[in-house]
Symmetry: D2
Subunit: 395 residues, 4 copies
């Protein structure tokens, strides 16, 4: 057996060996020519991965929440009106965060497993005076995916800044930031972007940077203040060293490597691969008789699945058995139904081997738990998806 288990949670994920190898290399000076180039490369490649050629990328030591904080604290002044569109746990966090900075938050919560209807969002925007709206592309707690293109279009129609929490989607789900008119797309390194945790990442539109430049009050959060970091990002992208705080050199080197791998695959191929694997998971889960939180395929994420336990099977039992079979899955996260469902991350370097191994481990574990279904149904259903829609794996 492989002595290490397969990590199939919605982040951290299985990282490419080359990314880990870059991470473990001897650290160079943060002002050494090779690092300046790597930092610059990473910034430039982010704009390609985000489809935001004229955006301003930021790479910060921190978590995804720092990315949310940075977007929120820089764009909001006390009293600004914000519309928070929520499909789970992380919408609530964004509301909580924005309140801290003095925003007047209106909170639109979707039904469990569904998205907030577009007309409900538009109705709210019509009421006017919103400065900003935030929405979660894929909520890690529910596997529900919203359609950023339509929401971005609405935001533009009503001249509201839009912030997409792409923590569980960037580099896995299709995003075309600039074309879709989204002002901030933020993420964390340990998800589909494929780098161990520790980096907060975002690209900001020119429009949003201009709104920030015209603030009347200082940014409430010193560490997050773009005024500290914008000159650094600009300097590194221009090939010059600069200093505010020491960048996380090794993580940035790892990010450069991962972005190279992402772009070498090609964004469209990468989106297609995520779609294919997600479909294999969906079909396999269905074939084994498991239901999922997202109410239909249109609102199902490509990056993770959130199936309910079948009758008679408890989470403690199933996840422990799956772990024994060599695969690590995550339990539920949404407080009200935490014990009713589990989560499978399938993003980043996800491939045929990971997919089938995970389904196989779930299948064996369900059987052992006494749950009855057709022998081999899960992997067979997945394989039929793969047979019909093969992708090219590339070195």
């Amino acid at each position: 057996m492989k002595s290490r288990k397969l990590l199939m949670i919605p982040g951290p994920i299985e990282f490419e060996p080359e990314v880990l190898s870059a991470l473990g290399k001897p650290t160079t000076s943060h002002v050494a020519p090779n690092f300046i180039q790597s930092f610059g490369n990473a910034l430039r490649m982010m704009k390609e991965v985000w489809f935001a050629p004229s955006g301003q990328p930021f790479i910060m030591a921190g978590t995804g929440t720092l990315a949310m904080d940075m977007a929120g604290s820089n764009l909001i002044e006390r009293g600004d009106k914000v519309l928070v569109i929520s499909t789970g746990y992380f919408g609530l966090r964004y509301a909580d965060l924005l309140l801290r900075y003095g925003a007047e938050v209106t909170f639109l919560q979707a039904e469990l497993g569904d998205v907030v209807p577009l007309d409900m969002i538009e109705d709210e925007l019509k009421k006017g005076a919103y400065k900003l709206l935030t929405f979660t592309h894929v909520d890690t707690s529910t596997a529900v995916m919203v359609d950023p293109k339509s929401i971005g279009a609405l935001a533009q129609k009503y001249n509201v800044l839009s912030v997409l929490d792409g923590v569980c989607s960037v580099a896995g789900e299709e995003i075309r930031q600039e074309e879709w008119g989204i002002d901030v797309v933020l993420t964390a390194s340990q998800k589909a972007i494929g780098v161990p945790p520790g980096l907060a990442l975002m690209v900001v539109s020119e429009k949003a940077m201009n709104v920030w430049k015209k603030r009347k009050t200082p940014v409430a959060n010193y560490y997050s203040d773009w005024a500290n970091w914008l000159p650094i990002m600009q300097a590194y992208e221009a090939g010059n060293p600069s200093y505010f705080g020491t960048p996380a050199v090794n993580l940035v080197m790892a990010l450069e490597k991962s972005l190279e791998i992402i772009l070498a695959e090609g964004m469209d191929a990468r989106f297609a691969r995520h779609q294919l694997m997600a479909k294999a998971f969906r079909e396999a889960l269905k074939a084994m008789g498991l239901k999922s939180i997202p109410i239909n395929e249109a609102v199902s994420a490509a990056t993770l699945s959130a199936p309910y336990y079948p009758k008679g099977i408890t989470g403690g039992q199933l996840l422990a058995q799956v772990n024994n079979e060599g695969v690590i899955l995550a339990g539920g996260l949404l407080p009200e139904i935490k014990g009713d469902y589990f989560r499978i991350g399938h993003m980043g370097s996800i491939n045929r081997a990971d997919t089938l191994a995970t389904i196989s481990a779930i299948e064996v574990s369900l059987k052992k738990g006494g749950y009855v279904f057709e022998d081999g149904a899960g992997v067979k259903a997945a394989q039929m998806v793969l047979n019909a829609n093969s992708y090219i794996e590339k070195r």
Copy 2:
């Protein structure tokens, strides 16, 4: 996708990350206390893995052929009679090698896909005067496995030294060297023992060491001469440094780590896992309508499979497509039927993920090649084996 492909050939195999990490550590002195201990540990653990508590282990920089050479050149003197029992390519090599050292070789070649019948071996041994017999546990060219226990018993009955070429079997197939009375069991590091290529390994019985000690002529091969290396192995096992040639420090450190992983799993669990995965492969290949070289299950290796291409599918096409799907397989090796079959290595760290991914890639590729069979049949058959006979994967 994982940027690296899955290496499913019969050696080198996929190695454990911890083994690779041990390999890449800074080299210590070959006479440093930590290395003396690691070398001693490796020697001691080899005796456990080989089930040969009173055997003499050797760890040498070299290939599997060096291990064959060392056993042959130390145990044979000019004019000695040797019986070579062959199930493929590597039996022929052993004959070739022994002739070089002046042996009189009798060569028993099995029918393709079968083993040499025991009574035929016994008939030959009865003719008498044999000093040594050699046999290949699993011939890497045919996936045929012989039964070492019976042949070992025959060798003992006729008081003939026995040399088991375990290159493709040690730590994958069951071997109980001492209980089964086999005098030399040799292998190479890059197979089921789980260490990158570069080490020749063997354990020699007391009886064989005594025969060697009573040689009348010097060993023809200077480098292989046990007289050079025996004091070194004894010194390191006793915790003392010693020098004849500089040991391959990093590979020995990696070997120590791999033997630790092997013993932590447990030999019986390891044999069972290899059996289980081999059965999953066999059932999957059968379900897809593919025939294999070994004529029945009793002579089928647990460490590799050797299926024929189905009608209408050529090797160049299939292996290239499987490679595109992310898995590397090996072509045929036996000259006379080289283009008719391929080989899948499934040994060492082989697990559920590797097994299903490989079968899935073969399935997709056969479909793309136009070969018709039930959709999903391969992975389903494999999964049914796994459902019925699950093993515990351990960290």
Copy 3:
């Protein structure tokens, strides 16, 4: 030659291979048992390294500035009076940061190369009503070291919370947080603590935590708010998983390894080694006729040196030549005299080899630049220090 140059700047420094190896290992789940244990170990070991057994440790993804921000934003409410004691660049930053959170800052700036006299600090504290004082242990811009024990005692005498910016000192200079009564000691990973950049670290006294608990207003910085992170730190230390943001798994594993190495050396031995190497540098620089910013030995850091260029030698020329000779040094950082001096980091894993190599490279480069002094004087002076005060290097 070694293909990699010696990194002798005041952070990032040369890291132990075992720390880099821990960093590059496959990432585990942030709620996996092994990670929970590692995170807990790191928190517990921090308290040993900080000499703060009853303190509350925090490990955060971020830079040293985040650590400064977290201490400041959690302990300050709008209108609080803070005394900032500055010996260089980073004192100014702390003032800037505290102003953002509404503090009324009094700024005591030392003369260049000297510390602020204790009686001047006491005079200021007597004026009363200070809630907090901050001071920089070693200012990275000047190599000036203050005496934290005396300042800690003053803070206690006047019942003022004290925050020590130990970014360039923790694990290099002697600090006994609890004995000396300092409320917060903060640092960043990439300095003497020996871990690649990306972690902000601090230990907070019970007293300071209590002050925080009694805040009347919410913490202005959402990301930094201890309310988010305290339960996480407590859970991991107690052996339970918990989630607010995904911890920087690999950096935390590397931190655990580095803290193990630090404690295996022993804190007193570690302080003594830093003292010895610093003395070797001071004597070598003196022997070559170079003056340094710190006005005397008592205010000289053990972790870095800041010598002036000798007459006729410019920075661009010297640092480029030293770089050619294989050693990377840092230029000046203090804006007003940036071009007049350079900086040598000598902390963390600093040893005899690094010390002599650096001095040798400076010596050769000065000679090549035409600066005249006794041949070999630098390394000889350093060696005389080492001869007189050897330390034990341990594996």
Copy 4:
């Protein structure tokens, strides 16, 4: 302190991090396109490093002794006359080895610390009928270096094949195989070639290959027989896969990397660096009053030093103390004077830091042992050499 000690023995040496990183990478198939290219690159670069553009390179899993065996067993037939020129331990080994293959060996032993005079060699060659002569470039046991150019010329004059044992010299001492007319130059990976132990390397002249092709008897050693390996080396160099034994994939990848580093430095620069560091060692040892085995500079190796212990200092004491100071040195190897001297390896990646750290550790240890000499004299003498003859360290 660095937790790892500096390894300053005459092999294994300190290896470049990039070489270790290449070694620890996931193993690829021995017939994968990337490995075929790497193997081919290594073979081609060997010819550049050896200065033998029309030579035939061999890369084998094994030790330096295998390289000696391969050259000896392939070029010698029973009854051939061989002249062995010896400057220490390894000359004796070659004689021993050649006798095994039936050579008639004449053994010329140099005085301790000196080389065999050229006229004595010529006198012997005049006696005629020699097929082969062997000589050790640098004997690892004595640090004595012979002049291969003159001996190569003599061999050509008398039409005798010449085999240079370059185990302790290739890539450290100047060798121009083809220009100097030497037929075999052999080495092991773990010395100046800079790769962890496990590879035997050699380049063979066309003339020697032709002599081998015209053998009348088979090569006595099966494993070493060029007939097995020549087609493999030719195939890989031509970009085709081929199989006799599985090559040591990871070590070959590490060799490719190390040869790249060697050629990037440039052979002349590399020779000059070795000369410079050796001179620094010699001057330092002299300044501390230590004598060395080689009787003068002309016969002193650039790759290692072999100083006698001064009066009153024993080896056990000094080497243990130096080890405590963080540096690992080797004791004597020549049986008759084993306890009288020690050995310092300074080859491969040897740089300023290693050199000064080693001298410094010896100096401190001698002082502690009570040996009296001018304080700082060793490092000062070394630095004066470096000041006068600086080299450029390159990334």
